[in-house]
């Protein structure tokens, strides 16, 4: 994912404190590594319609503390496999935040209070801003630490390490 890429899609809005059990329940994720299969259950316990509503390139837009709870890396993976191109949140829980970047899923920290379900958004990681095309508003993205920007730019930790051989701060 190069810095110049601009993402565009519809917003699917969630509240505060969406934990990783809600993103992908323990009763599914423990028996398979098939993320395509697990993606069918993304957000099942808080929004059973989510997987049928979401279209490739859409965004999850949330309040505070997104991704809290368990460290399961299946969480950002099923979000990606469900077609979501980035998660926007007022704040992220730290393990989810790190895992999302490690798997090349942009975790975009910004003021999400003005975004409503169905709004068309444009996320410009390089310019550091999110434009709400439906409402004509714009918010700034909180910058990532440099090493996380580098990891995301490579598409995730695996590709980053294969290129650099270690962590370059």
């Amino acid at each position: 994912m190069a810095e110049g890429i601009v993402l565009r899609g519809k917003a699917h809005v969630f509240a505060d404190d969406v934990n990783t059990d809600y993103i992908i329940s323990g009763k599914y994720k423990f028996k398979t590594l098939d993320m395509g299969e697990l993606a069918c259950h993304c957000m099942e316990d808080i929004d059973p319609e989510f997987v049928s509503k979401v279209q490739a390139g859409d965004f999850i837009v949330a309040g505070g503390n997104f991704g809290c709870g368990s460290s399961r890396e299946q969480a950002p993976l099923v979000i990606k496999h469900a077609g979501v191109s980035a998660v926007l949140a007022r704040s992220f829980a730290r393990i989810f935040f790190r895992n999302a970047i490690n798997k090349g899923l942009p975790a975009v920290e910004c003021d999400t209070s003005g975004i409503r379900a169905g709004d068309e958004l444009e996320v410009n990681l390089g310019a550091g801003k999110v434009t709400n095309l439906t409402r004509g508003t714009e918010v700034k993205i909180a910058p990532l630490p440099a090493v996380m920007m580098d990891i995301l730019a490579e598409g995730g930790l695996t590709d980053y390490l294969k290129r650099h051989g270690g962590f370059k701060l």
Partner: protein, 417 residues
């Protein structure tokens, strides 16, 4: 300006002054994956082109979340872990050994002053023995297995001074729940929490693990305590390598210092479906329950089983309730048998399952039915956590759970002590 525990540990590892906010790459003293997270870590290790784990003696894989396996898909993932462990010479704790967060300190893998990462969010547990221990994802674990290092942002620290003397019938789990309610689910996000004050000093090391375990429920990166005489006594005989405890300086710079007087604290309960929805047990007494769980990385240790056995002595589990007990390790199970604790619990009507996470994560060993209320010594009560989104989970201390199992409803344990 002096150092916090976290700053001291990172400074010691990096061989230079590290301040909160600094980005560093540090050697990891020990790293762990469990059966929910290791398969993805092994896949990532292969994708990285990894051939040899950097230092196999610093790695442990633990089968605890679904032990023994309830399904063929899980069995195949367990087989993947065994195969990787054999190939790499990495230690593996197979079914029945116990829960990762009980095993790692018990078996001497963690020492004061260590940096430990685990592919499990409750890795904060070992902060109780003064280790900077934190949860990471599977790919970060793969990177640490391959390189022996990980990048960190040295956290700022929130210091909690816990004052007073806990009343009879009030335990470290009640302290942990109370703090979760006060600070809320993201009250300590990205911070290291330091727990200090005479309440901590008065607790056994086992009881301290419960508090550090639940630091992550407030969003914390670590839940640290100083190494005192009790800590050093507990680790001696378990840890065979030299170590360097990390104490905070008197002039350490904390983001915030908060004091709590816990002399008047009563038993606490977290209501469904949030860990920070905490109330005194007095306000919830009388709520009927159908399942009770004593176990998990939060409260499955010998002292936890012991207090439950004390309450159940001469009493029986209500016929309306299933009491499931999962000892946190084989050692706990055997010690419990030797002391007659296991016998007493079984005679009272408790059901024992394999040392492991048991029903906490919804994989097996006690999934509740629709509409049921469970009272559990676990650390999470999210909707669907135990495998049924139509059930309700209350979190409490082993004493409160045992008393409630007898009464068939949420009960103040002080009535039965």
């Amino acid at each position: 300006m002096g150092k916090t525990i976290a700053e001291r540990i990172f400074s010691q590892h990096c061989g230079r002054e590290v301040k909160a906010g600094d980005l560093v790459v540090a050697d990891v003293d020990f790293m762990m994956g469990q059966d929910g997270t290791s398969p993805l870590a092994i896949e990532a290790f292969r994708e990285l082109g990894g051939e040899k784990v950097y230092d196999p003696s610093r790695v442990a894989l633990v089968i605890d979340h679904s032990a023994p396996s309830p399904l063929e898909g899980v069995s195949n993932l367990h087989a993947m872990m065994r195969s990787f462990a054999a190939e790499q010479g990495v230690g593996i704790y197979d079914i029945g050994c116990g829960i990762c967060h009980c095993l790692l300190p018990e078996q001497g893998h963690v020492a004061p002053g260590d940096i430990v990462v685990g592919a499990d969010s409750h890795t904060t547990t070992y902060g109780a023995i003064n280790a900077f221990s934190t949860g990471v994802g599977s790919t970060d674990l793969a990177a640490a297995m391959l390189t022996g290092k990980l990048w960190f942002k040295a956290p700022h620290t929130l210091r909690l001074e816990l004052r007073g003397e806990l009343a009879v019938g009030v335990y470290s789990k009640d302290v942990a729940l109370f703090l979760a309610g006060e600070l809320t689910a993201d009250g300590a996000t990205y911070l290291a929490v330091e727990y200090g004050g005479e309440v901590i000093g008065s607790l056994s090391v086992e009881a301290r693990f419960t508090i550090s375990n639940m630091a992550v429920e407030m969003g914390a990166k670590a839940g640290l305590m100083e190494a005192d005489a009790r800590t050093l006594e507990w680790v001696s005989g378990r840890v065979s390598r030299p170590f360097m405890p990390a104490a905070p300086d008197a002039d350490a710079a904390y983001d915030e210092v908060r004091e709590f007087d816990l002399g008047g604290l009563t038993p606490q309960v977290a209501e469904p479906h949030r860990v920070d929805k905490v109330r005194p047990v007095e306000e919830l007494e009388g709520t009927p329950i159908q399942e009770a769980v004593i176990g998990t990385c939060t409260n499955g240790r010998l002292e936890d089983l012991e207090v439950a056995a004390r309450i159940l002595a001469g009493r029986r589990v209500s016929p309306e309730v299933r009491l499931i007990v999962a000892p946190a390790s084989r050692q706990v199970f055997m010690d419990g048998m030797e002391k007659g604790i296991v016998q007493r619990l079984i005679e009272a009507g408790a059901v024992f399952v394999t040392p492991g996470c048991g029903p906490c994560v919804g994989t097996h060993n006690g999934v509740p039915s629709d509409g049921e209320r469970v009272i559990s010594t676990a650390n999470r009560n999210f909707k669907g956590r135990m495998g049924n989104a139509n059930a309700f989970i209350y979190l409490a201390s082993p004493a409160t759970v045992a008393a409630s199992a007898v009464a068939g409803k949420i009960t103040d344990p002080r009535r039965m002590l």
